[in-house]
Structures are given as C-alpha cells and as structure tokens.
Symmetry: D2
Subunit: 338 residues, 4 copies
C-alpha cells in the first residue's frame, strides 16, 4: 500500500496520515521526493478498508501493492495445479475437451451426444439441467429430471459430467450428479454459492464474470479455495465490451497473465465467447495455440432445433472436423488433446 | 423480428428461411428490396430461440424488434408506479432519501444513525447485515445479529429499513426485517434469488448489474414481477467501463430512457457510483435534476473508522448540508424531498 | 514511481533493478516489507519509458505515482481558469450556453438560428463547416463556404462562433472565423492538430475522446498548453461503453474529479451524450446541477429536416423551455446562465 | 431500414411516418403485426439521416438493415484481397511478418534490425519516424531524419518499410519512404488523413481505433477505398475495455467476422495488444491459429534501453524462437510464414 500526498501537503497533514496508519496497526514508511511525499505501508492489511486514508486532507491517491488473493496466487504455489476427475485431467501439457449441448432437453439427445463424444475420445460432457436465462419466459431447464438423465447417461456411457449449479438449494443434487460443478458467469460473485461449492467434494469450473477483472476472478477462486476446495478451473467465456460483432468479446489475452499470476488451469468457451457457430472453430484453434488448458464447446445433435443456444452449437460433423484440426495443431505445440 | 438476407441469397435459401419460420409457428412476411430481401416475422416469439435462424444459409443478420419484457414495460402500464412502504413512497413528484451506513457494525451506531436520520426527516435507512465482499478475508457482515439490531432500531425509531438479501437461505429473515429488500449489483441476474423475492410481500430495490444493459435490468425486474411482486424500484449505482477516475461510471443518462421504457421508479446511488465522498454531493444534485425518484446515500457517524466503504460515506454534517442543497434544488424542479 | 518486487525476488534481482533505475539518472529508494520489497523512485521521470523496468527479472509490477500533466494540473495552478471570448466567459460561477445546429447548411438557417439565440440571451453559437462523418458518403460539411457564412452572420448579429477544426490545412481559416476552436472527439489525440491549435490565438474547446481516460484528456489539454495556448475548455460528450440505451454514455461523474485534478473549465454536450432530443433536457439540468461550467446544445430551426444529427437537435420552442428551466435551476445553485 | 411503431401508435401517426419516408424519396412498406406495426424502408438511404424518423410521434425504434460500407464489403467483392508490396504479399494462405522497433532511434539500430530481419527471412520492417505519444514531453520521433534513415536502410538491405503517417503535412515524405503507410489507432477516424492516403500509391495498414466497432473500422477503410486506394490491410491491435490485466484487450474474435463481412486482409499486433513482451509469443501463435493474415511484432536490438515501448518489444533471440514456433504451427494450418 502506498499513500501519495499532494505536492502542497503540509507537514501536519503528513503527520496525521502517519498516525492514521499506525492506528490501523500498520507501519508507515515516509518516502520524501523532489515534489511530494509518498508513504509506504507494511503490515497485515487484509482486515482494514484502507480507502479511508484516501479521503484524509493532503492525500492525493492511494495505491494498492499487495495482491489480495493468496491461495490462488502463483507466488504461494509455484507448480501448475492439475485438476483430476475419474475420467481425465485438466492441466498443463494437455488440452481437455468438454463438449455437449447447452441444456438437457430429453434423455435421447443426451444419450446420443454422450455416445458420439465417447466415440470421438471426448471424456467430459457439458449439459445444463438448471439454466440461467435472461428472460423469465424462456426455457429454464429440466431441473432434477435433467440431473437424473445426466446420471443415467453417465452410468451407461462412462462420460464425465460438467453441469451448472445456480443456487444452494440444489447444491447436493448437482454435486451428486456432476464430475465438475460449473459456476456460471452471472454467479461468479454470488458469494453464498461460492462458499457452498467450497464445501463440495467435486472440482469447480468457475466462469469469468461478464465484466470481471482478472483480480476479481482470482478472488472468486479464492473464496472457493479458502473454504477448502482447491480444485478450481478458470473458464474464460468472453467479456462485455462496446464491441458488437460477436455476442461477447472473447478475451484470449487473459491466458498469459492468468498463468503468470495463478497456478490454476484455464479453459476457454469459444461458443459463448463468439455466440455464432461459424466463429467457433477459429477461436478454438486460437485458444489452444494461446495456451488454454481446455475447451468448452457446445455441440448438439440438431442445433437448428435446440431449445437454447442452437446458433452457437456445432453440428456433430463440424465438431469432428474441429477435433481433427485441434489434434493436428496440438502436435507442434507439444500438447495432447484429451 | 426481422431476418435480413444476403444480397446474393438464392430464392431457395429464402424459401428455406420462410419454412423454418413457419415451423416455429410464426408468420413470415417477405419484404423484397432493391438489393436484398428482408423477412419480417410476427407471432408469439417468446418460446423459441430465434438465433438459430441466423445461421441458416443466405442469412446475413437477425434483428429483434419486440421488447422481451412486458410487465415492466410502459407500453403495458402507462401510469408511473408508486412503491409504498409504511413510512413513505417512492415515485413521481418526490425524491425519496434512503441513507445510512454500508454495514451494520453494532447496535449503537445503527441507533445513532437512525436517530440522526429521523431528526432530519429521512424516512428510510439503508444498512447491510449481509455484505457481498470481493475478498473472502474481508468483513462479511453481522448476519442474523445485524438483522436483529435493525429490527430493534426500527421499532424504537420508526425508521424504515432497506437491507440486502444475498441468498435464499436468509430470505425469510431479511423479508421480516426489511421494509424494502435490496438485491445487490452482483445478484441482478441471480435468477433463483429473483424468483424468491418475487414471492416476498415487501418491495424490492433492484440494483443494476455492473455491466447490465437497460434491457437486461428490466428483464430482471420482469422476473420479480412475473412472480407476482409488482413493487420494484430500479437503482442505478454505476456501471463498469474503461473509465478509471471513479470507482464506477455513474450512468445518469439511463434515467430518461428507463422512464420512457418502463413505469417503475428509479433511484440513484451516488456513493457506489463515485466511490469517493467528495464527489457524492455533486452527483446527488445531478441525479435529482436528471429525474431520479430517490437517492441512496451512504452516511456514517464516523466514516474514517467504518468497517466498509468509509471512503464513500458522508459524515453527518456533510449529509445535513447536502440535504439542505437537495431541498433547495427541488423547488424549481417542482419536486419534494421525502 | 514504485517498483513492486515478487515475493521470492532474490537480492541480486533487487540489486539489478536498483542499478537500472540509477542508469536512468533516477534515485531508487528500497522499501523492504514483510512479504516483499518495493522500490520507490524519485527524480525527473518524464524522459524515460519506465515500463522497461517491469520486464526485469523479479519485478511483479510497476506503479506510476506522479501525474504526467503539469500545466493542466490544479496542483500547479490553484485558481480556476476563466476562458474569455469577446462575447462572454466560461468559468466558475456561470454556466455558459453554446447552442446551434450540427452543421452549417445554408446562410438562412444560420442567420435565423443566430437571431433566435441572441434574442434569448445566448452569446455563443455552435455550427460546423467541416464535419467528421463516419461514412465517406455522408454530407461532409460546406467547408470554406460554411466558414464565410459564419463570419457574415457573426458580423451581423454579434454572436460568438464555436466551430470545429479537423485538420491543419484549414487551421488559419477556422482560427479566423472562430471565437472558440472546437477539437472533436475523434481528434482528441490527433497530436499534430493539437500542436497547431497550441499556436492559435483563440481558445480551444477540447472534446473528450470516445474512450479517453481523464488522464489522457488532460494530457491532450497539456499538448495545447505546452505550446502556449492556456485557454482550454474541456467538453464531456459521452464515452463509449457496452451500454446501448443511448448513443453514448454521458459521463457526468467526470466533472468532480476533473475539477479536483485540473483548473480548466468543463462543459457538457448532452446532445451527443444522449443522441436523442427527448433526453437532452434532463441531462442538461443534471449537468448544471453536477457542476458543469457550460452546455453545448444542438438546436435547429427544423430538426426533422436537418442534414445531420437532427434526431438529437432541439426545436426552438423546446430550447426556450429548457433555457427557462436552466435559469430557474441556477438560482439555488448560486450560478448564472450566460 | 425498419421503423418500429409503439403498440398504441395511432393510424394517423403511422400515416405521418409513411409520409416522412416518402418525402425522403424512399419507399415505405407497412408491416402490421399482432401487437404493433413495423415499416420497412427501401431505396437509396445513403444521403439522408434517418435518425430523424426516430423522434416522430408513435415511433418506438429505428433499426438499420443495410451495411453502410460497400467497397470494403465481401458482398460486393467475393474474392479475398491480396495486397502486394515489392517485397511480399499480405493475403490468404500466408501469414506475413512485419517486425521492428517502435521508433527509429538512430541509423545503427535500424540497420542492425533490418539485417537481422533479412537474415531471418522477414521481408517487412516496421519503425516509426513520427510517433503519436500521449505526453507532449515524451520522445516524438526523429521525423524527416528518421524517414531518411529508413530510406537508406531500405536501399542497403532491400527490406520493405512500414511506417506511420500522422498528418497530411508529411504525407508526401512518408509515402515516398514507405512500402506500406500505417495509420495509427488514434487516427482511424482522422478523416482528412484517410482522404489523403486514399490518394497514395502505397498500400495502407489501418489500425483499429481504441474503441472502434468492426463497422466503423470498415467505414474507415471505405474512406480510403472510396478515394481510389483499394490496398487496405486491417490491423487489430487491442481495444479499450474495463479489463486491466494487459495494456489493451486484444480482440482476436474480430478476425472471423471481419473475414465474413469484408474481403480485406487482417493482421494482428500482439505487441500493442498485450503491452508486455512475455505475453507476445502466446498471442502471436493464437493470432496465426485464429486466422490472421499477418503479424506486426515489436522487436528491438536492446529493448531495455528502447526510447519507447521497450517493455513490449522482443529481444532478437526471443523473436527468432517465436518465428520458429510460428513456422511449425503454420504447417498443420496449411499456411506459410512469409
């Protein structure tokens, strides 16, 4: 933490700031410069809200230095985290494919999709039983019935399940059905929900919030880890900007800093990131080349009649073709598609 | 809904789009132009996801026409909604002040604040028992104990209580303690929570999400109203942009379109909108002049030692001064500060 | 400037950073903390690009402390700047109205508008002879002929002229015709143009760039001031965000920090800020109440047939009504509409 | 163009809109729906500003259908454009490397860089003689002397030159020295400059503006093409968003829609896009895999002492390593690095 004083701050104003810092049980380090004084602060800053220093007379600005996340930080944990499920792993060296429809629509289509994925060597299927929809009048998912379908298909095909949890009420049921619990974009800062999955025995796939900074995203991961669940997978799925050529702005440039600041694996969802199936293959390849540890891709047996997100879902043949391209591209990158 | 075809779309591609529309039980209206064909669609669009039309061959673009919200729409309800609490009203003609600390820190400070507000003619006090905090290591609020404090102070002083609900687990308790239930920014699209407060017998103050469009915000209100609770107050509290001179970018320009598109009252929170107490008075006056139906202002008996958001909280004397300015400004606007 | 080292930075890495700082002719001040070392830097930083420090081994982050603008800074110039034209002033205590059509369309409409404004006590008329248009096929303005019209109408009516300069080629002619030279949004960082108007003998109205931070905007003002022209008026006209309910997002919350950090006057353009005439009155009142030193308002004798921006232009009667409201609102604010 | 009427629009309001459209010499097509009427418009819309329709009584919304760009549109020109310089091409099938320092600092470093690039098979060198700098106090480039250096080094080594033009005053000199004229981010909507390079006999590399939509970017290209210069290369270099983990947000997801909507080649600048040299290799690979026709990469013989942008410049060894990775990655993509 650094307090920057105004050029014309008086000695007594500086003294008041020093006193305020000491009162917070922190240590001030005055740093006089040619034109103004800055004051470094050391000590355990977590417990206080230092923004109050900013409004003291003579203070120009307050600059935070220490990163607020600890468990999610690479500084605290040098090795890359590898998240394991019974079927596969998510972590360095591999690129893990998670594919499937937006929502569970009925048992036949889930069974069909699972068989198709298994045939093509994909170990994890995504499909939502609970769907966060902008409109209260839109299809809200099949709920418990959808979870039951997922459980039966999982048993029959051996495929791993990635499915979204929207509220604590359904946490036990989702935890039971899922191999990886997905926390959606709109719930990235639903702290009650984060505290609940911190208690879960299953890994958590944490989608980045629509306008979350990397720091806020890592802080959300920190909520889960602070509660004891260290198996967190970050998922970039596009952020909201002024840019209107795609549904969201897929921020692939977050991959290198995420990997620098954190040891957690990061996967990319190009389906939500672009919102249009034609753009998914190019962005999948770009994600792999850019360092993503996995991909979350929407695929549907009949996307033109899907109950949600059909426009961004690949058909089976298009998915097979993409998988082939990904496998070829992985070779020079020294990576394996799993 | 309007489907715009590419310039070189073939007659058979156009025919396929017409067929796809009919299959959705909607009516297509071909509209041939000089350079391309557009196809208008009429019928009940709510149930289908028309984005699938966009990926049909020959289609250039899909343009939505109908607004997806109904109950929140002024087209459906011409009169301004007036939300009532036992203490006051929120609606046209008045500007309702809701003031108080960020969080309930202890009974003494809540009692002191309530007495101060009552003395100054303020009828509603804001204060959080449950606090959404970016960091899991920050003060998370007093919880049930905080609600009990609010209930006792309410009883002693008669002040109305506005307090945040963060999850369905605490819904009954918050509904009991509150005169207005606040849904925070990060939960604007927590649809499970919205469905819960749709069942509440208390009005809902719905804060705009950090990167919510006006349409998404009204759709969130629609969730509450569709469940039977028509007493929704919109609350603008700053959105997230590239702009870094304040904590958030207070979007006062949302007031006129919100009032054009919806009949719901809208209040402004300049404390979160700016994040700095020095900027609160100017933005409070601007909100009133810009048409806000109310203000949500952080005030604290000792902001420099507040447990959260002290930097953006006004002192008692600063608040009194602001209140005086607001009352003077209301006169030429034909409004009353309540 | 502050260099923050990684937790596990070695003593030799720290030593290398100290050496690099000294090589830049700056003075390093090591600041060891509990978990990491930070290094304060003092000296004249302007000439070097300190971002190179950020990529040295062991460095986590680089934090800039000193504001890069000097002449535009309130720290260097405590008093509010008052910009004067032959007709009026722009500065504290007043709110200066600048009104008129988007473009000069012909002499009759300019004469008519000028007479209307003079009658209503408005001293400055805006009107563009050179128009920056997104499309090369749109009306580009009347050019020199438009400037001649402005000159003649100015002579006949005594009204002051605010008109845009788009390139150095036309700088002499615009400088001759204008009482205030407008630099448009798209040219806020056209540094060649800024250097040219730095030589002008007329004040400069500097519109904020579509995605300019306050610091970049003040740096653009610094370009003009560094060249010798201290008469700069800042103009907020909406920034670009995800928000789609208005043409741009009018950022009124920039007014208080702009006034804190700088001594330059700031005016607001609610016409471009909202893009819709119905929203202009509310945002004009909000700007005045929020502390704007002036307003730039589009008004047109026949907006429905304007050659550009008619949708955001007020009719004469609507403008008269707004002026009346502004005058009433100014009273409790202790301001005068000029 | 489509005019959407309010639900309760009266027949006479609808009639007025029809009349207004006819008065613009356009043809209205009423499209009555279950709940409201929409009105399609056909004809040559270019010349009028249809936003005025939006403010007529009873009108809810105006929706534009036709894309405003023509020459830049793939609808008008199906084949991919290939831009040629004496040294190489930019277009489909290849990925053209353009590398070099941010600015011309002296002849020795330019000669050294050019020799290094030629040895490594790179045909185009970037280096700025005129530098747009946020601060008037920062190094502004060597100007004409820099151009002379580029010309001499070009002659000696045969390397092609990509260099920025900032104003019309220096257009002849830059056109003479450059093989490709760069228009920088801040000048993407400097329409006077665009009109000038529309007259140039050299290709134009058009960087995307900091907050430009794809449509605005293509409209800027249209300015150049409308003036007769069809050799335009689009360059994505990061846009401005709330995201603060990198200098800008590199928008790779613009590549697929840009290629769908336009026939112009698109290159990516990962150096400005990320602002940090450590992130450049991953984003270069991602750009190639995502479909970019070229890369603009900052490389400097001694980046830690560069006069500008050293933090985002690669060292020579790092660049060689990246080039090798790109060449390997190009194989499975069926592309050639040139």
């Amino acid at each position: 933490m650094l307090v920057v004083m105004q050029r014309d701050a008086t000695p007594s104003q500086i003294e008041d700031v020093l006193a305020a810092i000491r009162q917070m049980n922190l240590t001030p380090h005055p740093l006089p410069g040619a034109t103004r004084t800055a004051i470094g602060i050391t000590g355990n800053i977590g417990a206080v809200d230092p923004r109050t220093l900013e409004v003291l007379p003579g203070v120009m600005e307050l600059i935070r230095v220490t990163k607020p996340y600890k468990l999610a930080s690479r500084e605290m944990h040098r090795e890359d985290t590898v998240v394991k499920t019974p079927q596969t792993v998510v972590g360095p060296g591999t690129c893990t494919i998670i594919a499937g429809p937006c929502s569970v629509e009925n048992e036949a289509m889930i069974q069909k999709t699972a068989e198709f994925l298994v045939e093509n060597g994909v170990k994890l299927m995504r499909a939502g039983a609970y769907k966060p929809r902008t409109s209260p009048y839109a299809f809200q998912g099949m709920g418990r019935e959808g979870l039951d379908i997922l459980a039966r298909v999982r048993k029959r095909t051996g495929i791993g399940i990635v499915t979204e949890l929207m509220d604590t009420d359904n946490a036990d049921a989702v935890e039971e059905a899922a191999d990886i619990i997905q926390i959606g974009t709109r719930n990235m800062q639903n702290f009650s929900l984060l505290k609940r999955v911190a208690q879960a025995r299953k890994p958590v796939l944490l989608k980045r919030g629509l306008s979350a900074t990397l720091e806020e995203w890592l802080m959300a991961a920190e909520y889960v880890m602070a509660g004891g669940n260290y198996n967190v997978i970050l998922c970039e799925r596009g952020v909201r900007t002024f840019s209107d050529h795609s549904r969201n702005t897929l921020d692939l440039s977050v991959i290198p800093p995420a990997k620098t600041l954190s040891h957690l694996p990061i996967v990319v969802d190009p389906s939500h990131g672009t919102g249009k199936r034609d753009y998914v293959p190019a962005m999948s390849l770009a994600s792999l080349a850019g360092g993503a540890d996995g991909l979350l891709i929407e695929v549907h047996p009949d996307p033109d009649h899907a109950m949600s997100d059909g426009a961004q879902s690949l058909t089976f043949p298009a998915f097979v073709k993409l998988l082939e391209s990904l496998r070829k591209l992985a070779v020079p990158l020294g990576r394996t598609i799993v």
